[in-house]
């Protein structure tokens, strides 16, 4: 197990380095430069700016400097938000997005898993059909529609919930609902099908033949096997949701990372784009690593690779 974790950590670090390098290279391949604007700056200003951000040095030196800084958690100064360091901007956005996303995922798991199980146990009955209807809805309706509908009902018509910001519990209700909508539906579908598959397995029949009570059969023998697909899905889900949804953050005016990322692209904020890309990739890689380790703990059949 220890060896497995060590190996997994090492490959993750390697992957992160690769991503960082590729991002660095891509930044030079895209046409245009960070200081290009409708009104081109004078040659002298351009030179001064390039010097300030180290862009006058050979590419290889730039690369070396960037990587060395990255190792210390430094991602350079934002080109557009003068005076602020990229890692600080990312961190403050991430704090907001991660809290919101974390709650949303918790909600999605806590609702999706039991609902999926209930659907499986009632296969073919009306309850199953009802759950199927709502989960199909949840998967089919995009986030901006959910957000807008929620807003119209609860803020505009009923005037119950605030429409922007994140300053109280009530502020969280709509964005969390909007964020949790799809994953809840998806998890319940996943859970239903894997639970049905597991319930048909021979070892469940063995558990019954032993005389185990229903709840023990479900919670001990079925759930642990059936939850595996959900765990797999949780990796990318965590990475995407914790880093903030652009749509939800725009609609509810939340100062999260998703918002930050989009404005950095619109503003051609080179250092910010690089920083956020590397940060998102790193998070995704780490989450997948954690999922793999969790998987290994749940299912002993997964071999050390």
């Amino acid at each position: 197990m220890g060896k497995y974790v060590a190996k997994r950590v090492l490959t993750s670090i390697l992957t992160i380095w690769l991503v960082a390098t590729i991002t660095f290279l891509l930044m030079f391949l895209v046409p245009g430069g960070p200081f290009l604007a409708e009104k081109a700056p004078s040659a002298a200003t351009l030179e001064a700016l390039n010097k300030r951000f180290g862009l006058d040095q050979p590419k290889i030196v730039q690369y070396k400097n960037y990587m060395l800084n990255l190792l210390q958690g430094e991602m350079g100064e934002s080109i557009k938000q003068r005076g602020r360091m990229v890692q600080d901007i990312i961190f403050s956005g991430f704090k907001v997005s991660a809290r919101l996303g974390g709650i949303a995922i918790l909600v999605a798991v806590c609702i999706g898993v039991p609902i999926g199980c209930i659907a499986a146990f009632n296969r073919g009955k009306w309850l199953d059909s009802l759950i199927l209807f709502f989960s199909t809805l949840g998967i089919a309706v995009p986030g901006f529609v959910v957000s807008t509908v929620l807003m119209v009902i609860f803020s505009v018509k009923l005037d119950l919930l605030p429409t922007y910001g994140l300053t109280s519990f009530a502020h969280y209700i709509m964005p969390v609902s909007a964020l949790a909508f799809y994953p809840t539906a998806y998890i319940s579908r996943l859970m239903r099908s894997s639970m049905l598959e597991v319930l048909g397995q021979d070892y469940i029949r063995t558990a019954r033949a032993k005389g185990l009570p229903q709840f023990k059969m479900i919670f001990k023998h079925a759930l642990r096997n059936a939850i595996l697909p959900v765990v797999t899905y949780l990796g990318p889900l965590l990475a995407y949701t914790l880093t903030g949804s652009v749509v939800v953050e725009k609609i509810f005016t939340i100062p999260g990372l998703g918002n930050e990322f989009i404005s950095s692209i619109i503003n051609r904020d080179y250092t910010m784009i690089m920083g956020t890309t590397i940060f998102l990739a790193t998070l995704l890689i780490i989450m997948n690593m954690l999922v793999d380790i969790a998987y290994k703990i749940i299912d002993p059949r997964i071999k050390f690779k």
Binding site: Q201, D202, Y203, R205, T206, A207, R208, A209, K210, G211, L212, P213, Q214, K220, H221, R224, N225, I298, D299, P300, R301
Partner: protein
């Protein structure tokens, strides 16, 4: 006849499916005393497993007993609730299944899965259950039992896993062990070992066994009584000698014809008899074997044959047995 361990009287069982009522068991009667070894043979779909599972109420909800009674060890099985059944399953009656590769839960250790049934039905604590588990693994011939307890099913071979299944089944010293084709999924040498083990343990523990199989060689060696099933009905029932040397039902005869040499040491699989099995959704009103029977008579198509006692304890449901009587009394 209260000393009967198992007394199934005229059991009828149907599966209620969207396509209609599948009449899986039609009038099954089985009686077993303590220590008996009964073999149930018959082709695929004849209702062997359904008969066995119904003793433990292990069938899906769609399968319901629609007639007759099942009594086991003093319990009226078909009147018992799920809760009451849980106290019996794995305790007074156990079962081992065909495929040991999939019958154990892959995510728990062998020890966990053996201890579970011990702790469920006895007052033993974890430590005592562990000791009992080691004892059981030794009993079923698994070496290094303490080490095995910590292993997962995928780390064991098929034969070993079936031994573990037997250990689980025997953990509470059941009165009846049901073996549903326990060796079909294993290779030949392992098969022999497992069967030998079962017979050895039967004497040690003093339990009864229901042996479900396709393999006539197995029943000849292991069982005292044989029930031949066809289309959810026991068409012939008797001792090994009755069935092998004095078969009365045309289906039994067909079965026996399909093995080349009876005393062959090699176990031969049944070669299916020509024709297709009956459609249990629309069973015929006469003898279910009639469409495939070479001696089929008019009455066979119209009336279900009644049981006739050939000699003591040997019964068969075939009109040929009563042919003489017809010819005298008929027309």
């Amino acid at each position: 006849m209260s000393e009967l361990l198992l007394n199934i009287q005229n059991e009828r069982l149907s599966f209620f499916t969207p396509a209609g009522e599948v009449k899986a068991l039609n009038d099954v009667t089985i009686q077993m005393k303590e220590g008996d070894v009964l073999g149930i043979v018959g082709e695929s779909g004849s209702g062997k497993s359904v008969t066995a599972y119904s003793i433990m109420q292990l069938l899906p909800h769609t399968g319901r007993v629609v007639g007759g009674t099942i009594e086991f060890n003093g319990h009226k099985i078909n009147e018992m609730s799920e809760k009451e059944m849980q106290a019996i399953r794995g305790n007074e009656v156990s079962i081992i299944f065909q495929d040991p590769m999939t019958s154990l839960n892959p995510v728990y250790t062998i020890g966990n899965q053996i201890r579970e049934v011990i702790m469920l039905h006895t007052k033993k604590n974890r430590k005592e259950a562990n000791e009992r588990a080691i004892e059981l693994l030794t009993l079923v011939g698994i070496n290094e039992p303490a080490k095995r307890l910590k292993q997962y099913p995928h780390e064991l071979s098929g034969g070993m896993r079936q031994r573990v299944m037997i250990a689980i089944a025997l953990a509470c010293e059941p009165k009846l062990l049901i073996a549903d084709e326990p060796t079909t999924a294993l290779d030949v040498t392992i098969q022999a070992q497992i069967l030998e083990l079962m017979m050895e343990l039967k004497d040690k523990i003093g339990m009864s066994i229901i042996m479900i199989t396709h393999d006539l060689g197995i029943v000849a060696n292991m069982c005292q009584k044989i029930a031949v099933m066809y289309a959810g009905k026991i068409v012939e029932y008797g001792t090994v000698d009755d069935i092998f040397y004095n078969p009365q039902h045309e289906y039994t005869k067909g079965l026996l014809r399909s093995i080349p040499k009876l005393n062959d040491t090699e176990h031969k699989k049944l070669v299916p008899i020509e024709g297709t099995p009956v459609d249990l959704l629309n069973p015929p009103k006469g003898c279910p074997f009639a469409p495939r029977c070479n001696s089929c008579m008019k009455i066979c198509l119209n009336k279900m044959p009644e049981y006739t006692e050939v000699n003591e304890g040997h019964i068969s449901a075939c009109w040929l047995l009563q042919k003489k009587e017809f010819e005298q009394g008929g027309k």
